[in-house]
Amino acid sequence: MRLLFINNDGGGFADEIDVTDGLTVRQLFEQRLPQGQPGDYLIRVNRQPTTGDTVLQPGDRVTITPLKIEGAFQG
């Protein structure tokens, strides 16, 4: 099945991806961000808060946004 996966860490680009049926949010996270900790990110499915056990559905939009995004100053 196809999902819209948006990783706001870094570039923040939206990709349509193919995943296996019955994939959970936690499994998708582990596939896409193997070095990351889920607790360090805001994870939304179809713009709604979700849980790791939620089974993804075709056409779902999954957004991952890091909790910490460093601002700067304009010198």
Binding site: N8, D9, R47
Partner: protein, 354 residues
């Protein structure tokens, strides 16, 4: 949704039109010609400096060249990433985004007259400092420019003496988004308004001490007027005369009023080196090395003591001095009572003019 449908629809139509203008603006490909020309110019100057043996200039130009090259690389990356993803979102998508915003933020406001979409964050707390909530105000009519977004602190916690700072990364209501920049660009390019505001909120919730306008450790610090050091709230002193902020080392405590004073409002005594405020020790004479009131008192006390001692000496001596009849032929001579020579010498020393 809490926004009424009529307002929301009109607002979303306006936002869609603004995003469409943004897309067309971006599709008019603007190659970074200016940057390239600067690079070429710097390279020419660098070569000239090298040929003439101007090593310092060459070194300086090389640094500038590398900096410009880095920016050129970023320009190309941005160009490459912007174009293929820029699309005009449908009204349905924008409507879902607006609903998503209402899930994430307590307050979402569309102001059609002001052409702004405003979301209010919860209170931003960084390292125990509560900066209060922020209004993230996005003016869609200003989209092609950098000033489409203003970030206004609703309960500002400003550092002392800085009316322009409301957050370590917000100056004059402008958030420097740092690492969030690419994500924000990508979100706007596809009309993902909820992601756009969520990224902004996360930037506000993050403290980057390496690149803050003012470090949190010095949020309530002031600059010492005399030495320029940063002083925390607990360690600062105020000059009792002119009110300038001072560090504890520079604050001179007047020995009379015991109040701290800055260098400009104090006078230092050359003799005892004590620092007096100008109220307690006003300049009364033009003498540079005028003694301070304490030294004057000490000198007067010493004189009084001497006088008292003189009086005592005279009193003691009086009975011992016999009444003598002074004759014109023995002026300057005096008969003294018998006593030890040492006593007599001491008495004469006491009488001796200083």
């Amino acid at each position: 949704m809490s926004l009424d449908l009529r307002t929301a629809t009109r607002g979303l139509v306006a936002i869609q039109a603004a995003l469409a203008r943004r897309v067309s603006h971006q599709q008019a490909i603007m190659l970074p010609h200016g940057r390239w020309q600067r690079l070429c110019r710097l390279q020419t100057h660098y070569q000239i400096a090298g040929q003439r043996g101007w090593s310092a200039a060459a070194s300086h130009l090389q640094i500038q060249w590398q900096q410009q090259l880095g920016w050129f690389e970023t320009d190309l990356q941005v160009l490459q990433r912007r174009l293929p993803t820029a699309v005009v979102p449908s009204l349905r998508t924008l409507y879902d985004e607006l609903r998503g915003l209402e899930q994430e933020f307590e307050q979402v406001t569309l102001d059609l007259a002001a052409t702004t979409l405003t979301v209010t964050s919860d209170a931003i707390v960084l390292e125990d400092l509560d900066f209060g909530p922020f209004a993230l105000r996005w003016n869609w009519e200003r989209l092609p420019t950098d000033d489409a977004l203003t970030v206004v602190a609703l309960e500002p916690l400003r550092p002392d003496g800085r009316d322009d700072l409301t957050h370590p990364h917000v100056l004059d209501d402008r958030l420097c988004v740092g690492d969030g920049w690419l994500g924000l660009e990508a979100a706007l390019a596809t009309g993902r308004l909820s992601d756009y505001f969520v990224i902004l909120r996360q930037v506000l919730r993050t403290y980057n001490f390496d690149s803050a306008y003012q470090a949190l450790t010095h949020w309530f610090a002031v600059t010492c007027h005399d030495c320029g050091m940063q002083v925390t709230a607990d360690d600062r002193r105020s000059c009792a005369r002119c009110g300038t902020e001072l560090c504890d080392s520079c604050a001179a405590y007047c020995p009379d009023c015991n109040e701290p004073h800055c260098h400009r409002c104090q006078r230092t005594c050359d003799d005892c080196e004590s620092a007096w405020c100008r109220a307690c020790w006003p300049r009364t004479t033009g003498i540079a090395a005028e003694p301070c009131p304490r030294c004057v008192v000490a000198a007067n006390s010493a004189t009084d003591l001497e006088d008292e001692r003189d009086d005592e000496t005279q009193t003691n001596l009086a009975p011992a001095i016999p009444t003598v009849e002074v004759h014109a032929d023995c002026l300057g001579e005096m008969a003294l009572a018998a006593g030890s020579g040492t006593d007599r010498d001491q008495r004469f020393r006491d009488f001796a003019p200083s």
